[in-house]
């Protein structure tokens, strides 16, 4: 019966254009959202334009710029690759094998995402640095030199440990909605498990891996804290130094280079994902048979344990140590932590999550159901914001809001908008993949039963994609909770959150005081991770 299917898919995809007015409204909304989200770039145009062209070319072609560009590319590449090598096996182990305590390892493998990478990096240096706990432990054993963790290896390791969960989560989602019968088909065609994986499973889950990889790569590109602590010279650090030297035009020109890299990353991911555009991904397909690990059970468990130890246990242990050590001298830096700060964090993060899922919906819908490459453009472009360093975004919004919408300046609205610009792409991704799993004929069925398009969408599609939307919202929530630079710049006067407080006491060297808020931050964000994993269960059922 397969003969009819292809014909039908083609006809249906084309049929989506029937509702011209509805789709025009949708496109209009999506374009408006995209423009709004990209509006901070206008500031970069202005500031970069202030630089003399010859000077700009000199800056862009200088030895330092070229070196730093190369460093950045190497870091982004190595973090993304290593994240795939950690995230994909963990996803396969927790979805497709008889790994003991699968549920437990699923949670521990996802949780490092809730640890702010600057805290993670700090924990790492405390543990493995030249004066760290490890060298303290090893010193009596006569080991006086441990391998340096600074530079590229350290930055790669730390960023990988705290971003690989993006790939872990998207790969899991791909594996869970993956039709196991085709693996069985491949094995029946005399493929070994490994060959079947390589030739059948991998191509099927590759878009999922790429979707997570995109977030990892863009995060790495835009992160300043970790490379700075790990002493690896990357683009954000160069931009940051220019800001420090108060040469905003330099910083703006360099930011464009950074955004150009982001666009290249997006283009690469689009190519990988291309095959899936507009298609309806079947769901509820049969799970492939569980892979028996056999003798590999122990190594696999150790692998999960090692990742959880480094990515989760270690930073928490360091935070606990700060807490214990935080006796006399570790208190007394300014105002103590107040519950109100936590409340502020929660409310702005929840608002950012709510707004993000709402504005992500049209972009995701257009990308999932649209009939051309152009219809996924708003979705693609919205990702650019994810790579914009927080400081750049902050200053851009300071200028633009004061200039054009002064009444939002110094209000939480501007802050929430900044979060939406930065983190909405995460909601677009999960919403889009949920939409792709909804049979397009549901809406048609509802309409033939008398419901206008929006009502049909609300009554039929929305309930089905709700878990995906919630997962996207949870991702936005937990990354917003961690966000520091834009928060510092754009929060209303006197508005303190978890991270601004942690930043303040850490800057003063009062680590003990940072411990409790940091631990609470990790715990609260950890709860939102349960929403993300909960959605999986619903899908898997």
């Amino acid at each position: 019966m397969a003969t009819g299917d292809r014909d039908r898919v083609v006809e249906q995809t084309q049929g989506a254009t029937t509702e011209r007015s509805a789709s025009r409204v949708l496109s209009g909304v999506a374009v408006a959202i995209t423009l709004l989200v990209l509006s901070p770039l206008a500031w970069l145009v202005l500031r970069a334009g202030e630089m003399d062209a010859a000077r700009a070319i000199e800056l862009l072609t200088s030895q330092t710029t070229i070196e730093v560009t190369a460093n950045t590319i190497v870091l982004v590449g190595s973090v993304t690759l290593l994240s795939a090598f950690v995230g994909v096996p963990l996803a396969i182990l927790t979805v497709q094998t008889d790994l003991p305590f699968r549920r437990f390892w699923t949670v521990t493998s996802a949780l490092p995402l809730v640890v702010p990478s600057y805290i993670g990096a700090f924990a790492f240096v405390s543990a493995f640095g030249p004066q760290g706990h490890l060298s303290d432990l090893l010193a009596p054993l006569g080991v006086d030199q441990i391998p340096a963790i600074y530079g590229l290896p350290g930055a790669t390791l730390v960023l990988t440990l705290f971003t690989y969960p993006y790939i872990f989560l998207t790969t899991r989602a791909a594996l869970l909605s993956f039709d196991g019968t085709i693996v069985e088909a491949a094995r029946s065609l005399n493929h070994t498990r490994w060959e079947a994986f390589k030739r059948v499973t991998l191509p099927q889950i590759l878009p999922g891996i790429a979707g997570g990889g995109l977030l990892v790569a863009l995060y790495t590109l835009g992160d300043f804290g970790t490379p700075s602590i790990m002493k690896y010279d990357v683009f954000t650090r160069m931009i940051f130094n220019e800001f420090g030297a108060r040469r905003i035009d330099y910083a703006a020109v360099l930011s464009w280079l950074l955004l150009a890299m982001a666009v290249v990353i997006l283009a690469i991911e689009s190519r990988i994902e291309a095959g899936r555009d507009g298609a309806y991904v079947s769901r509820g397909a049969r799970r492939p048979g569980e892979i028996k690990l056999g003798v590999w059970k122990l190594p696999a468990t150790l692998f999960c344990g090692a990742v959880a130890t480094l990515g989760l246990a270690l930073p928490i242990a360091i935070l606990l140590q700060w807490l214990v050590r935080g006796g006399v001298g570790y208190s007394g830096a300014g105002r103590p932590f107040e519950l109100g700060f936590a409340w502020n964090s929660l409310t702005v993060a929840a608002a950012a999550a709510a707004v993000s899922v709402v504005v992500a919906l049209p972009l995701a819908y257009l990308a999932a159901r649209g009939d051309s490459r152009i219809s996924s453009l708003p979705d693609r472009l919205s990702y650019v914001g994810y790579a914009v360093p927080g400081v750049v975004l902050g200053l851009a919004l300071v200028f633009l809001s004061l200039k054009y919408v002064p009444f939002v300046y110094n209000t939480v609205f501007l802050l929430v908008f900044a979060y939406v610009v930065r983190f909405m792409p995460q909601a677009v991704g999960t919403t889009k993949s949920s939409l792709l799993q909804v049979d397009p004929s549901y809406v048609e069925a509802a309409r033939s039963l008398g419901y206008p398009p929006l009502t049909a969408f609300r009554k039929v599609v929305l309930p089905l994609v709700a878990p995906g939307i919630a997962a996207g919202g949870a991702l936005v929530f937990l990354t917003t909770m961690k966000e520091l630079p834009a928060t510092l710049m754009l929060r209303p006067l006197g508005f303190e959150t978890f991270v601004t407080y942690i930043w303040r006491v850490q800057e003063s060297g009062y680590y003990g005081q940072a411990a409790v808020p940091a631990l609470v931050l990790v715990a609260v964000s950890g709860l939102s991770m349960l929403v993300i994993l909960g959605r999986e269960q619903q899908n898997g059922a």
Binding site: T3, D7, T18, S448, G450
Partner: protein, 377 residues
Amino acid sequence: MEPDIDTRNTTAAFDSVESAVDDPSATVVELDGITREYGAETAVDDLSLSVNDGELLTLLGPSGCGKTTTLRMVAGLERPSGGSIQIEERAVADGSTFRKPEERNVGIVFQDYALFPHLNVAENIAFGLRDADSHEADERVTELLELVDLTDHREKMPSKLSGGQQQRVALARSLAPEPDVLLLDEPFSNLDVRLRVEMREEVRKILKRAGVTAISVTHDQEEALSISDRVAIMNDGTIEQVGDPAEVFENPESRFVASFLGQASFLSARVAGDDIETGMGTFRTGRLNGPVEAYNGATVDVLVRPDDLRAIPTAESTADGYVTQRQYNGPSFVYRVKLHSGDVVHCLHNHSESFEPGEPVEIDLTADHPLAWYPTE
């Protein structure tokens, strides 16, 4: 494949239920010269068709022929590039009007049923009962559950139902708001063979009881011929022939229809006065279904299906050709015979008559009906 020889009987058996229809000659759906273009490609080309009240009409054709597009245009899921569509004498699509699917009062049963997975059976069925209060809706759901014989499954989720049950729910859901016309898109393609035959009968029975006008789309001729009141054979965006299933099957008006229905072979035949000369002997022109004088001296192609022919074992010297392949169909064999003239024909035999590949055979024309023929292309 064999045509369903019970077609006429089945239809007759249900004619009694069709009393639900007021005026079987009234036109419910009227397509007039509809066209659908996708860029340079024309999917449906100037197609006209009318469907009568209470009638089940099937659009039958190979994939890509435009049948699904036609159905979707009736549903309002596609907008015609030209032509007009009327439902119950009301224009739903023409140059100036385009009624959206929700404004057409059509019901659709989708190929994969499109049951809403988050709603149970009763909620799915009640989904289209927008104006009914809950009590009325409940009653209507009960009624429909009885109609489709799923009274015990009221509270179940769609994922817990078998394929056949899902289809009956889909049917009930689309019938619930009493649509003017019901559209069925490849309704049986997701069912296994045994269930498919059972559901064909079941669905036809339900449709007839409900007295609903229906248009179905399929590429499965057996299905089309067995359930329809009329079939419309489509090719390349146009309708080649519309009519009673048996009539269409026996008198295909075009070579395309002929080759599409049944396991058709074409026998080249030279017309010589009152005789036609073929690779399996000479016959009288009277065996053909129409005057062939105009082609005197020329070659025509005669449609022969496996049940029209018999192979008889014979000596090499008297053979028309030899068996090249045997296809076992359970109760019967179909032999593929390569004639010395170069034509290939198929012969139907019961399973007790066995030939070996390579065996020389003589072919007898056993058909008891006039044979369709077409000018050689």
